[in-house]
Symmetry: C2
Subunit: 298 residues, 2 copies
């Protein structure tokens, strides 16, 4: 049996009781280690908690080495652990497809992920549009396909969850060219960098999907003991020091109801300023009123 087990957001004990029982009975345990990290538990702590060694699975192993992971899974129990819930990334549905093709039974044990736990900032999950990912810009590479998606969401009044890039086990171009297996220290995008990149692309495009005064919420270390929410405009948050990773950002849509706003005001020092930003943004991005077509007078 292949068990795909969500670990939740932060603590080793965020695993479900059912998930823990399954993992402890597995003969091999892989931990997916490139789309997210577990904030409050080290590998050693997990190994002690499960009573078993845990193999870190990087992108290469998951995408090309599924034979290793699935090896013996018809007769042995194998666990594939994912921080958050299981189906955030495409590559994991691919692993399930491969298992099914080899007639390996699969059981999924779900958990909380950023996709549903962001609800704890007070914004209704119902009113979120498509989710986007923000990657680290370089001098020559500034992918901005997320811009149109934010625009589409905001045209119909929806909030956008922006997931921030993490780089784990990354090689420098020089080390890659020379074939040296030396990896850079892990990098996690900050709220301020994300907001700067948002403003940079809006500046370059100039089509006003949002403005520097558009309200947003910084989500830091969601689900951990130091979880922090900060409400402010994109411009304000581009100067905000959010501390340790992981971070996500929500760009507000027009559909922000009274109770949602009241909840968000707990996360800002400038309540009046934030309220004003929300109302002005709602007003500015209000769809144009419908005008009846002019009758042809000829």
């Amino acid at each position: 049996m292949l068990y795909l087990v969500g670990l939740g957001l932060s603590y080793k004990s965020d695993i479900t009781v059912r998930g823990l029982e399954a993992v402890r009975n597995c003969s091999r345990i892989y931990l997916e280690h490139y789309t997210s990290i577990l904030m409050a538990a080290s590998l050693e702590e997990l190994e002690e908690y499960y009573g078993k060694p845990v193999i870190l699975a990087d992108r290469e192993l998951v995408e090309s080495g599924s034979e290793e992971i699935l090896h013996d899974a018809r007769t042995q129990d194998v666990a594939f652990l994912v921080v958050g819930d299981v189906f955030g990334a495409t590559t994991h549905t691919d692993l399930v497809l491969r298992a099914k093709r080899e007639s390996i039974p699969v059981e999924v044990i779900h958990n909380a992920s950023v996709m549903n736990a962001v609800g704890s900032c007070g914004l209704q999950l119902y009113n979120f549009g498509q989710t986007v990912s923000m990657v680290f810009f370089t001098e020559s590479w500034k992918p901005d396909s997320w811009y149109d998606k934010i625009w589409e969401n905001r045209k119909i009044g929806l909030h956008t969850l922006v997931l921030l890039d993490i780089k784990v086990k990354e090689q420098s171009i020089e080390n890659m060219a020379r074939g040296r297996l030396i990896y850079e220290p892990p990098r996690y995008m900050s709220i301020s960098q994300c907001c700067e990149q948002l403003l940079e692309i809006e500046d370059a495009r100039g089509t006003i999907a949002y403005t520097p005064n558009t309200p947003a919420v910084a989500i830091s270390r969601l689900g951990s003991s130091t979880q922090t929410f900060k409400a402010g405009t994109i411009e304000e948050l581009s100067r905000y020091d959010a501390g340790e990773p992981l971070h996500s950002l929500i760009i507000l849509g027009r559909q922000c109801h009274e109770l949602e706003l009241e909840y968000l005001l707990e996360f800002t020092d400038d309540k009046e300023g934030f309220k004003k930003a929300v109302i002005e943004d709602q007003e500015f991005f209000k769809p144009a009123p419908w005008v009846p077509p002019v009758e042809d007078e000829d």
Copy 2:
């Protein structure tokens, strides 16, 4: 301390290890009992598992009786349990706001909910738009504000998660009028009724947000041992017997990628027919090509 604890989707052991520890140490335990139900555990089983009595909290108690729930929570630990994750419904953020106003510390312990666990049907969570709720129609009351939301989602190619109505502790109009506290048996909307209501409103509106041939996925008993996915057109699913509750439905958007489709094909007997429906729907709802504005020749 007020603990808000998500129970996950189905089994009593779907609670997290951290959640279970918190609940077992609480002096009072409430279970929210009107937005969802735990499929594979009875109240008695939960009480035995927690080693404590569990108070069922109906809508009235949560919305008007928060004093009872929060009573003593400054000095005692109180648990408020929610099937799925904690922040699906607005009323729970309201409970947190009340607690904060009374300086009661609040801790949230997240879990999986339908909002993220639907990812297990193979559709990417990134490509979902706003979520809608489908309520039971009566002869005289057919609320259809969800129609425009599905339309908005589909205009930008996104999938729509449709949550199906449940009626727990409902009074008949006659019993209500006579003040008799007699409740009707619980009702859970079926996939076929949801699809019939979808077709009825499309028929009445005629603005083609979707057609009878638009592809959809029926999600039944998500996260339980009898979990079932069924892929088909809305018209096909209006004749589908999905069995025991709970159910949800996903209406596909145009943004259905190859790997997503390959995964969905596992859930249909008519693979060629479903593939054809997806391609035809994508073609039919393709946005019109951009035409440059005609120069004024005067």
